[in-house]
Amino acid sequence: MLRTEEMLLNVGPQHPSTHGVFRLVLKIDGEIIKEAKPVIGYLHRGTEKLAEDLQYTQIIPYTDRMDYVSAMTNNYVLCHAVETMMDIKVPERAEYLRVIAMELGRVASHLVWWGTYLLDLGATSPLLYAFREREMIINLLNELSGARLTFNYMRVGGVKWDAPEGWIEKVAEFIPYMREQLKGYHTLVTGNEIFLNRVKGIGKYTKEEAINFSLSGANLRCTGVKWDLRKNEPYSIYDRFDFDVPVQDGGDAWARYQVRLAEIEESLKILEQACEQFPAEGDILAKVPKIIKAPKGEAFVRIESPRGEIGCYIASDGKKEPYRLKFRRPSFYNLQILPKLLEGESIANLISILGAVDIILGEVDG
């Protein structure tokens, strides 16, 4: 009888598939994971502490660096929280610009996820296809905001820059193109037998578990919970658009994959309508005081980011800096279920499960 013993394996903090500085301490028996312990905090920058000494407008660039793959939603959640407290009515044109920017960001974010997830599974080409489309979005957002990744675009009461001439048309042109490419994605990957074997039934959890673990976004919708804050608790002007909330009930990586790709399509629908309705003129910034002071009290707002429910809590004592600022970061909450999912899985499945959760380490660590 051979003597076997368990082995400790450090996956990360530098590892090709942890998407950043994330570490997993695995107790493995051969290739089977007995126990997994996530270690986070490598990218903790203390945004919340820093924010306590900053004015609200100055905090916006910090939010860009949280979920750096879809910075627009982060910009928005902070502005939305302050606007909710101060009861600022954002001009219509600004709302449209915000929605277009956020939805473009959502498409870009899901594209990055799609590409990197398949790269994790060993397919090298999809990443480059996804980045080709993402590059177009980044260029569009660059034209709008002047930055490619950390946009710093939104302001309390509106947005910083108006759309350049012909920009809306460019966005409108992008939509059918992206739809066409999406078909190609499905042809290339979605039907692939090897891919299906890698995702079907992997990382499965139930609806109750998802809710209990505070999962949100596609990680929740993959279990059949039809819940999208854009639809169910509409903020901004999302109530004006006709779109669907894609749901799957498998609860596995495959369901998450399908939900995310379907969400790209829904985002394109929203973009299409937003481009059609885009007001020809109007203000892009509401009349807000020069120095923004949120009224004394506290507020917690939540919106739908590509990764799930992103929230912003502000406790204000009436000064120009927040007394306490807290972000509910979806990746942080979504990652909690990982140790449970990994138990008894192989290392190959670890990559598949971790990838399907779709985390951004900047957001996990705050």
Binding site: I40, G41, H44, G46, E48, K49, T84, M85, D87, K89, E92, E209, I211, N212, F213, S214, L215, V225, W227, N232, E233, P234, I237, D239, R240, E276, Q277, P279, A280, P295, G297, E298, A299, F300, V301, R302, E309, G311, Y313, A315, Y323, R324, K326, R328, F332, Y333, L335, Q336, I337, D365, G366
Partner: protein
């Protein structure tokens, strides 16, 4: 969607009808009055008068009824806010009716004292009464409309004025209704209520009338926007005038509601508090209120001793069923620490904020991890950054900074520790 559109149309039609009715009634009444004031007192005239008055009255009543029905129909799917308005309107109507009756009586008495004492005096009286009633009805209606549209019921006792502004009021009412429709459309009611509630909240906060006006204008603008969205945002320039009108309507609409109905979430809060008091006793909650700054979320402040018990109750109680922990974090208020928990129920689609104040020197509180797995890491984070210890947490560790970090950075008195300095 189509149902809502129909509703809107119905409302518009009803408003138009009401307007027409008001006009017609006004005319009828004017005629009646003119006749009344004429000195002629012969039998035929009286009869004629009576007939005309009766007709007018009947028409007015019928119209009123129709309108009321229409309103009832329209407003039944809308929120309780409208109901309250209706009730208020009804009350106003009743008051107005009483006033009118008084007047009518006076008139009747005046008539009685008139020298004419022929047989038909009874008839005449009847006519006068009918007339008076018609007037009262018209007045009541005008008052109701006025109340509903503007809530400025002061000028109503003056019949003439009421008449004069009735048409305008009706228009305003129509606008208000359109707005209501827009709001109703706005999405299951919640969003609309938020909007309104926000306006209300801010209005409360700001005492100045000017500010209020501005604010309400803003609110109206929002509604205008929505209406535009429905109309595919096409006729923008034309909407400007309408927006102005609606601004008035919107303002008038929001303000009276404010006093009557603070928040749409109030009933929820009341329900929670009631259920909690019934089941856990009345000394569990330290305070509870609607947080107007935070989209009107019902907020409960629980005593530290009952924190876990209440959380458990909130999760497992049939009527509450908060199965989702959306957010958990701590705050250092220098005098005390606070843990803020935002819970959500997918069953009832309702949120609640649960807060607990804890001693700053000895920040210890029960862990919610046994109830919601999702509280695991957020509690570690609160422990890491604020030093709040969570009892019964399975693995409380410094999740971000590491165990060797000195101090708790999010405390207000935190001094960075640096070995080299």
């Amino acid at each position: 969607m189509s149902g809502e559109k129909d509703l809107e149309q119905q409302k518009k039609e009803a408003a138009a009808k009401a307007k027409a009715a008001a006009l017609a009634k006004m005319k009828a009444k004017e005629q009646g009055e003119a006749k009344e004031e004429s000195p002629a007192e012969d039998m035929d005239l009286a009869k004629q008068k009576a007939a005309a008055a009766a007709k007018a009255k009947a028409a007015a009543l019928a119209k009123m009824k129709a309108k009321e029905q229409g309103e009832a129909k329209e407003e039944s799917p809308a929120e309780d806010m409208d109901l309250a308005k209706q009730k208020a309107a009804a009350a106003a109507k009743a008051k107005a009716a009483a006033l009118a009756k008084q007047k009518a009586k006076e008139q009747g008495e005046a008539k009685e004292e008139s020298p004419a004492e022929d047989l038909d005096i009874a008839k005449q009286k009847a006519a006068a009464a009918a007339k008076a009633k018609a007037a009262a009805a018209a007045k009541a209606k005008a008052a109701a409309q006025a109340k509903q549209a503007a809530g400025a019921g002061d000028g109503d006792d003056d019949d003439e004025k009421a008449k004069a502004i009735a048409a305008a009021k009706a228009k305003a009412a129509a606008a208000a209704k359109a707005k209501a429709a827009a709001q109703a459309k706005q999405a299951g009611g919640a969003g609309g209520d938020d909007e309104k509630a926000k306006a209300i909240a801010a209005a409360k906060a700001k005492a100045a009338a000017a500010a209020k006006a501005k604010l309400a204008a803003g609110g109206a603008g929002a509604d205008d926007e929505k209406a535009k969205a429905i109309a595919a945002a096409k006729a923008k320039a034309a909407a400007a005038a309408a927006a102005k009108a609606k601004a008035a309507g919107g303002k008038a609409d929001a303000e009276p509601a404010e006093e009557k109905k603070p928040s749409v979430n109030q009933p929820y809060l009341d329900k929670y508090v009631k259920v909690i008091n019934e089941n856990l006793g009345s000394d569990v909650l330290e305070d509870y209120y609607i947080n107007n700054l935070s989209k009107d979320v019902p907020t409960l402040i629980v005593k530290a001793d009952y924190y876990y018990k209440l959380a458990e109750f909130l999760k497992y109680n049939e009527q509450l069923g908060f199965d989702y922990l959306s957010e958990l974090h701590g705050t250092d208020y220098e005098t005390h620490m606070e843990v803020y928990v935002h819970l959500f129920s997918y069953k009832n689609t309702q949120s609640v904020a649960l807060k607990v104040k804890i001693d700053r020197n000895e920040p210890t509180i029960d862990s919610l991890q046994p109830l919601w797995e999702g509280a695991n890491w957020p509690e570690c984070e609160a422990y890491d950054l604020l030093g709040i210890k969570f009892k019964n947490h399975p693995n409380l560790h410094r999740i971000m900074l590491g165990e060797e970090w000195v101090g708790y950075p999010l405390r207000k008195d935190y001094e960075p520790y640096d070995v080299e300095v």
